[in-house]
Symmetry: D2
Subunit: 283 residues, 4 copies
């Protein structure tokens, strides 16, 4: 088993040595270390992973001990992950199956180290897809007038299944600000355009009417500002005048799937740090 | 030598046969024909090219004869190109050399069948690049207060050199509506973003601050609406958190060059039809 | 309903007009026509599609009538498709699910106009995937010594289900020359490399050991020469020194799926002509 | 000014800490550190860069001191770069201008931190391109019978101009094994195919005759085994049946330029470690 440490801090000399020496001094064998300095904001970012076998601090004590020994003094903002179990993910969907099917296939193939205990939907169409994969399906209707009640039900479901990450796999409802803040950096959305082009509704229609030569998809953490959250991954595919809206939708689906899977993988592998509305996604 | 016919028309049965039979009846050997129907607007588009050797209508009469025999009856909007000489192109630049150098290298390599008699610039920096390639360089300063006078000078230069197409190769001045209308579908610009994302000034700064994972470039015909003209070509390149604005600029330059060259090639090869603010770019 | 005509012929003047006039003369409304001339072999290729409503020749007579009226005189090799029913496809698999799942998802989403009555496998692992989609699963073991018998069983299954196209979706057995010839241009394979690089077994291992910076996939019609059939589609994905064989496999899977789906779509939409070991794939 | 250290070593615990602590102990401020472990060969790779201002070891002593203090004990193979001057590069060409023009444009634009004192060619055609950029042009004819003498002349030119890196920018002659060994990991070639597909001569003709749907380019260090050297960068561009050999050549040129520039940049920025016939190219 390994531990992962994510750090952001004001840049100053000696940060890499401070981190790596501390790990080494406690018997940790570093298997991966990557750092980055954003020179425009003079901010230092680091991700490192080390083997816990032989490490002389218990997993649940690492965060506190590191903060006390190193982090606080150097004004580091840190996160430590040393859990053994796969991350528990709820997938929210509406009527379109492609992102859901794709994610579940990847989980089955062992590509994504997560467990999906539940699929949540405001429609019933995709119950069958969930059941095929032996996953619980919770139908929670969402209407303008019942939104608060629906969200309360969603929260209960999330708690009941011990969910740690929500993936909006073409879920066509807007979550409330309160919900989004409580789940900050733990809700990943896929938007079917190359943001910031074509935010909002019906981006493929917008793209067609503008006559663009590429369509794309954007996966981002959800924030209270719609389609404005920190971007995790983006992709595009070439299109032409031959492609009507239906073809843009079809071609776009392939990009949506790949981009969403990349974003979820980056999150699950603890390779993401959010800073100043942007992401550092380590390789 | 060949003639090229571009057609747009309300869709109806028999259009391909009408065109190809007329060409055949006059002794033309079709070497290329491509058509497209935009089902959303029920518009028919066609591009065909035929050998003039053996064709029994003189090149300068083709347009009128086709209209009289076929086009008018079928409400076709047509263009005919049967010129033998390379298209005469003026390249407008400001201070950045990369698109200019790239276009001139392609012309020298025989990739683009054009002649470039003149480079026009509101700055002096690139005179040397033009002169290296033995091309005239006209420095026409543009200030807010002298804009009209500057444009008058530009028009004289264009006339003097017999220019048929203007390529704005990172020319950082906005042309007047009158100028743009007079040169409708004959001014090609390269914008350094994936439009409609990041229109206006400093798109790489905007892209960096938004934290996108791809940067791009868009080449379009210039219209009176800034950055809103019909798109000819677009491209993107992946970027990451490692890339500061300077790196986005550098990576973007490679896309700008390729995209602008593609757009100019499509225009020069008479593969473009503009309809309803969008382009049909035949392959 | 529409009819599709594919033509290859020695190039000569008047071919487009000959085809389009014949269709028009019989009341057909052309909705798509694309032609191509391979100048190196002086061969003409054409694909056209027209509406059968109002066409005065019965669907099953089109091929013979066209040959008699036009094709034979102009030495055309033609194929006519005017069937109303979706193409019947058998998917052959071994142990890997990703291409199978992907194809079935696309069929369900209406992306591919085919019917999949049966999945055939030399292993049992993917029976569950087929059954989830309510598709028959035929387990036909293949051993070196029983190959002929196995192939006889496969042929019976294909006949029983009325199969018109076989897709080898990571099927790891080599088909006999006789089988391949009987099913000429009706067996599509996906090879997990950018052919002709890394033919044969374990291409991702080969790619890793060579240290390439891209891995790819190739979909082709199967011929008696292993991995040498006419290429339908290819794709690549960037990789780096960070990617071990397992990561190449994972990244490659995404390309395999897209490339195979593109190839099957091109075949199903009757956009492919094979000539001289290469394909013309109309857009 | 900064120093760069490249390390490859048998993997073992503590390597990152050993390196970063040594740098810190001598007053160095690390601005970049990236490491990689190849798990298949259990080899550790590291690149780090630190500010020399305040560092208490003189630039020319760093390599020896690091070896004595850290490297030798941990069986590290290291390289240290702390030069202030741009790398001196000779560009070898034959008749094609595109890679040469591209590299020189990038140098002028400040994209590549190198100096190009000389262009060497076995033909005279590109003298003009060199002279435009005020670079010396050495014409050294190469015939089968005079190869040894030509190489002797080349070596004198390289010495005379103080060359540290040779870039073969579509240079169509094979260098001798002796030459290649003397310049090991300091000769970069661009091959106009996606190696290992289409090695040897006329790859675009091979690609056309095979009917591939992508053409590419590969940049690699030159070794005694033709087209087998460690790969630095690769790229591809989609092509279709429409593209004859001439179009493949044209489309391929754009990839060649980008790929060669990427490879040269990686070398110049000291981001490359060769190990076991493959490269680690840090980001």
């Amino acid at each position: 088993m390994t531990a992962i440490l994510l750090v952001s801090a004001p840049d100053r000399p000696g940060l890499v040595a401070a981190v790596s020496s501390w790990i080494g001094a406690h018997g940790g064998n570093i298997v991966q270390l990557e750092q980055h300095v954003d020179t425009s904001t003079r901010t230092f970012f680091l991700r490192t992973e080390w083997v816990l076998d032989g490490f002389d601090i218990a997993a649940h004590d690492i965060a506190a001990r590191f903060a006390a020994d190193v982090g606080d003094r150097l004004e580091m903002h840190t996160r430590v992950y040393a859990e053994g179990a796969p991350l528990r993910v709820a997938i929210f969907v509406s009527r379109q199956a492609h992102c859901l099917s794709d994610l579940l296939s990847r989980v089955e193939a062992g590509e994504l180290r997560v467990e999906v205990p539940v699929v949540v939907s405001n429609h019933r169409e995709l119950a069958d897809v969930a059941h095929r994969h032996r996953i619980n399906f919770e139908h929670i209707e969402v209407e303008a007038t019942t939104k608060a009640a629906a969200e309360a039900r969603q929260r209960r479901v999330l708690e009941q299944y011990g969910v740690e990450l929500i993936v909006l796999a073409r879920y066509m409802q807007v979550l409330s600000s309160e919900f989004v803040e409580d789940w900050s950096e733990r809700v990943i959305n896929i938007h079917h355009s190359f943001l910031p082009a074509f935010p909002g509704a019906r981006p493929y229609h917008q793209a067609h009417s503008r006559g663009v030569k590429l369509v794309g998809a954007t996966s981002h953490y959800v924030t209270a500002d719609l389609d404005e959250g920190p971007i995790l991954a983006q992709g595009v595919v070439p299109v032409s005048h031959r492609d009507g809206v239906a073809e843009l939708v079809r071609k776009g689906r392939d990009v949506e799937r790949l981009v969403l899977a990349d974003a979820v993988r980056a999150h699950v592998e603890r390779r993401v740090i959010v800073h100043d509305g942007r992401t550092v996604v380590f390789g």
